[in-house]
């Protein structure tokens, strides 16, 4: 815990007996006192380790270790935030992947070594907070300490002579200090009287709140986060998603998640608007607005409209929905030679660039003589380049929008019962029957067109075009608590850094026909303006005495 009263060393050596032994304001141990120790015994050792763990130095080293341990988490992709990046790393560096994976670097922030550091840090922290809280509660009830005999050694020591008597001087000192927010206590001194005052208890309160709130965040995130979940779903226009485990494309439950936590609701994508502006310098369209027009229904109610935008999630009960991505979903119909439909439906094509050139995969496992896989591109606003390939000029689709497909036959791997990514096609085991490696050219279609499939397998028709939105659903019952603790962290920090904790003394001693008045202060923690504050007190006190004597 940080607060470093330098000047405390001079006068108030034992003011904070419960601070760690190596805190800057603690008395320096006698040299050699820690060396020739007798046997410690079990309890002795435990106490020794506890004191080591809760010392400032250990806390500091753990903090620095924590910063260091977080670095690998930014150097290699993390399973939590970038699972595809991890797979890619594995493919590109299989050897180093094995070593790094064994070290847990790909899940740095849940690895044993990272956890060990922050858990030790937090144990050390708790070991520091608890005694200090007790001590602070006592200090808040205690009276300001006795006025030191010699004020001249303290900060901003000022001595003046006044015509007022001791009683008046002490009266006015009490009033002046009270109005400045000090807690005051009179202490008679030989030949006069004095006022001892202290303020800024909020500094230590803030310090304790800050550190306790850190623990609060850790506990809330660690325990509370386990009750939530998040899941992603690609919703194609005019289709509805119902909140159930089977409905999600991908789903990440917390540790304590049960299916009852899924609130019953349905979401339908009615329409999707994307607005773009052309960047003349790069020729690429920049998105300026995405709006998914949804209909939402909970059991027993009718569909109600809701708009979903980036940065504007909407809430259904305790679940929030976020717009993560969008794109086009061409509708294709595959028929066999007799004209019977083997496959029909919209297929989400994932955008590859700002002009929504998109890539997608269509799988037709049944209904034809062979299993068919299509892999290709969708160009909303196609332009043929000189080498025969296409690009998209804008993200706006129209009559010319082009679907270009390579066709593969073979075992699509859908019968093995293993879950397969719907957006990829493993072509290693497949035979290309239309495309650059086949005798037949790839199939190119605009809306309404039909093409013959190679080998007399049937036909494929580009029947229509829909939009899709990929939506993330997120439920975290403890989010609000995390925010509360985060704000307490901020509030506690501001108090502990910027509220000065200081003691102030005014001593008045009869001296001939007048009074000798002394002022001095003592910093408790960083307090660069203490000398100015003492001077200010002296000035205001003089003014008050002045007014009292000459009303």
């Amino acid at each position: 815990m940080a607060s470093a009263p330098r000047s405390d060393r001079t006068a108030a050596k034992s003011t904070d007996p419960l601070r760690p032994a190596d805190h800057i304001d603690q008395p320096v141990p006698e040299p050699g006192s820690g060396v020739a120790q007798p046997k410690l015994g079990l309890v002795g050792y435990l106490r020794f380790f506890w004191r080591q763990l809760t010392s400032m130095r250990t806390a500091l080293v753990l903090l620095l270790l924590l910063a260091l341990a977080a670095v690998p988490g930014s150097l290699v992709p993390q399973r939590s935030s970038d699972p595809n990046g991890v797979l890619q790393y594995k493919a590109e560096n299989p050897d180093s992947f094995k070593i790094l994976d064994a070290l847990g670097v790909f899940s740095t922030f849940s690895s044993p070594w990272f956890s060990a550091i922050y858990l030790l840090l937090f144990v050390s922290l708790v070991g520091c907070i608890l005694p200090r809280t007790k001590h602070h509660l006592e200090a808040m009830r205690a009276r300001p300490p006795k006025t030191p005999v010699r004020l001249s050694r303290l900060v901003g020591h000022t001595e003046v002579r006044s015509g007022a008597d001791v009683e008046a001087a002490v009266d006015e000192a009490r009033a002046a200090l009270r109005s400045a927010g000090y807690r005051v206590e009179p202490y008679p001194v030989p030949g006069g009287d004095s006022i001892s005052a202290e303020r800024g208890y909020l500094r230590e309160t803030g310090n304790l709140v800050f550190h306790a709130a850190l623990v609060g965040v850790l506990v809330t995130v660690g325990v509370g986060g386990g009750f939530g979940y998040n899941g992603q779903k690609v919703i194609v226009q005019d289709t509805a998603f119902t909140n159930s485990l089977a409905g999600y494309d991908s789903f990440n439950p917390g540790r304590f998640f049960t299916e009852q936590a899924l609130e019953p609701f349905s979401v339908r994508l009615d329409d999707f608007d994307g607005h773009y502006e052309l960047n003349p310098a790069t020729g690429v369209y920049q998105p300026v607005d995405y709006t998914a027009h949804l209909s939402v229904r909970t059991p027993g109610t009718d569909w109600t409209d809701a708009d979903l935008k980036v940065n504007e999630p909407f809430e259904i009960g305790g679940t929030k929905a976020y717009l993560l991505g969008n794109g086009y979903a061409p509708v294709v119909t595959v028929r066999d030679t007799s004209g019977a439909v083997a496959y029909t439906g919209p297929v989400a094509f994932l955008p590859l660039d700002g002009n929504l050139m998109s890539r997608g995969v269509i799988k037709v496992p049944d209904g034809l003589d062979e299993q068919l896989g299509f892999m290709g591109f969708f160009y909303p606003d196609p332009l043929e380049l000189t080498d025969g390939t296409f690009t998209s000029l804008s993200p706006y689709a129209g009559d010319a929008s082009l679907l270009s497909l390579n066709v593969y036959t073979g075992d699509l791997g859908l019968d093995a019962g293993v879950s397969v990514n719907a957006y990829t096609l493993d072509v290693d085991e497949l035979e290309q029957i239309a495309g650059p490696q086949a005798d037949t050219e790839s199939i190119k279609l605009v809306q309404g067109q039909t093409a013959e499939l190679p080998n007399g397998l049937g036909t494929i028709e580009f029947t229509g075009l829909k939009r899709f939105a990929s939506v993330e659903f997120h439920h975290d019952p403890t989010e609000g608590w995390v925010l509360v603790f985060a704000l307490l962290i901020l509030g506690g920090l501001l108090l502990s850094l910027f509220v000065p904790r200081r003691r102030m003394w005014v001593k008045a001693v009869a001296d001939g026909d007048g009074t000798r008045i002394e002022y001095a202060g003592l910093a408790r923690g960083e307090d660069p303006t203490l000398a100015a504050a003492v001077a200010d007190l002296a000035r205001r006190h003089q003014e008050r005495l002045e007014r009292r004597m000459n009303p």
């Binding site: 940080a2 500091l60 620095l64 935030s81 920049q286 300026v288 999630p313 901020l490 920090l493 000398a531």
Partner: protein, 330 residues
């Protein structure tokens, strides 16, 4: 005027500001060099002045009492051993002029884009460097830190020119992910934190140099015009602590925005990782100040490591690391 024209004027102002900063930098360096020779001329005097860390700027002005003897513990004020030289005043005036032109560049950029002018890497650097100068000027009102003039103008010129030459982008509309009031709050407070950390690092560097000189292991004579290392340390602490408060706010505001835009308040995105690392390093710095054996030079090193991490976070992480905060616009 069309936005393009205004943006062109903004860029012109950027170059002008950089030119003025360069002159200010040269004048500051000449000033430091002159101080070296002056100190050399007045060697016996300087030797005794070296141990006196400060006189009180926080003197009890306005009191009717006799001036109190200043206790050593209150030596928080700065007192440059030699009064502000003519060159130093010229450098300061030039810095103010550069700052005014710099702010004009930012305002023009904001007008041209009709939004907060810190939505990509170039704009962040443009505003960030102005805030560094702004913090320096602001702190100058409170304490005389003009001895850092060469550091500030040098750093700012370098960053500003690197940004303009390497990461300049034309004004483009704000992507939907950035269309939020949090862009104004979260990013600007991050910039403010950076500004205070930059000044704090400068003070810590000066402190380290001064501490070496005080220990007799260095003979950098221009440091004769600098306050003592303890005064520098206290001042660096005040400045870094303000930066730390802003940084804490940046983290929290960022988490709130991330919850709003990405559906999670914390996800160990690379930028989040580095913002966290910086926060922890400065937390370590604050604790080091309260740990016996870590005060002084060790804690100063932590502040410098912290600011290095800030620069790393802004440059290397932006350009070479993959993550959600991919808004450099490049």
């Amino acid at each position: 005027m069309t936005p393009t024209t205004i943006a062109a004027y903004s860029l012109l102002a950027v170059y002008s500001a950089a030119a003025v900063y360069v002159i200010a930098f040269i004048v500051s360096v000449v000033d430091l060099a002159r101080r070296s020779s002056e100190v050399l001329a007045a060697q016996p005097l300087a030797a005794s002045a070296g141990s006196v860390s400060a006189a009180g700027a926080s003197a009890s002005s306005g009191t009717t009492v006799a001036a109190p003897p200043r206790p050593p513990a209150a030596a928080s004020a700065t007192a440059v051993a030699s009064p502000a030289s003519r060159l130093q005043r010229v450098a300061f005036a030039l810095t103010v002029l550069g700052f005014v032109i710099h702010v004009a560049a930012i305002v023009l950029r904001g007008v041209a884009a009709s939004r907060a002018p810190w939505a990509n890497m170039f704009e962040f650097a443009l505003t960030g460097t102005a805030v560094i100068v702004g913090v320096y000027l602001l702190v100058s009102i409170w304490r005389d830190v003009r001895y850092l003039s060469a550091y500030i103008t040098g750093l700012v010129t370098l960053l500003l020119m690197l940004a303009t030459m390497n990461v300049y982008v034309d004004i483009v509309p704000l992507p939907p992910a950035l269309q939020s009031a949090w862009l104004v709050v979260h990013v600007f407070v991050a910039i403010l934190g950076t500004g205070f950390f930059a000044l704090g690092a400068g003070l810590s560097i000066a402190q380290l140099l001064q501490a070496r000189r005080e220990a007799g292991s260095s003979s950098l004579r221009f440091l004769g015009g600098f306050p003592g290392s303890e005064t520098l340390e206290n001042l660096a602490y005040r400045v870094n602590v303000i930066g730390f408060a802003f940084w804490t706010f940046t983290l929290i505001a960022g988490a709130i925005w991330a919850e709003h835009a990405w559906g999670r308040y914390w996800g160990w995105d690379t930028k989040e990782v580095w913002t966290f690392i910086i926060w922890v390093v400065y937390a370590g710095y604050i604790h080091a100040r309260a740990t016996r054996g870590w005060r002084g030079s060790r804690s100063a090193w932590l502040a410098i490591v912290g600011f290095t991490a800030v620069l790393f976070n802004f440059t290397i992480v932006n350009l070479f690391f993959k993550g959600f905060h991919a808004y450099s616009g490049l």
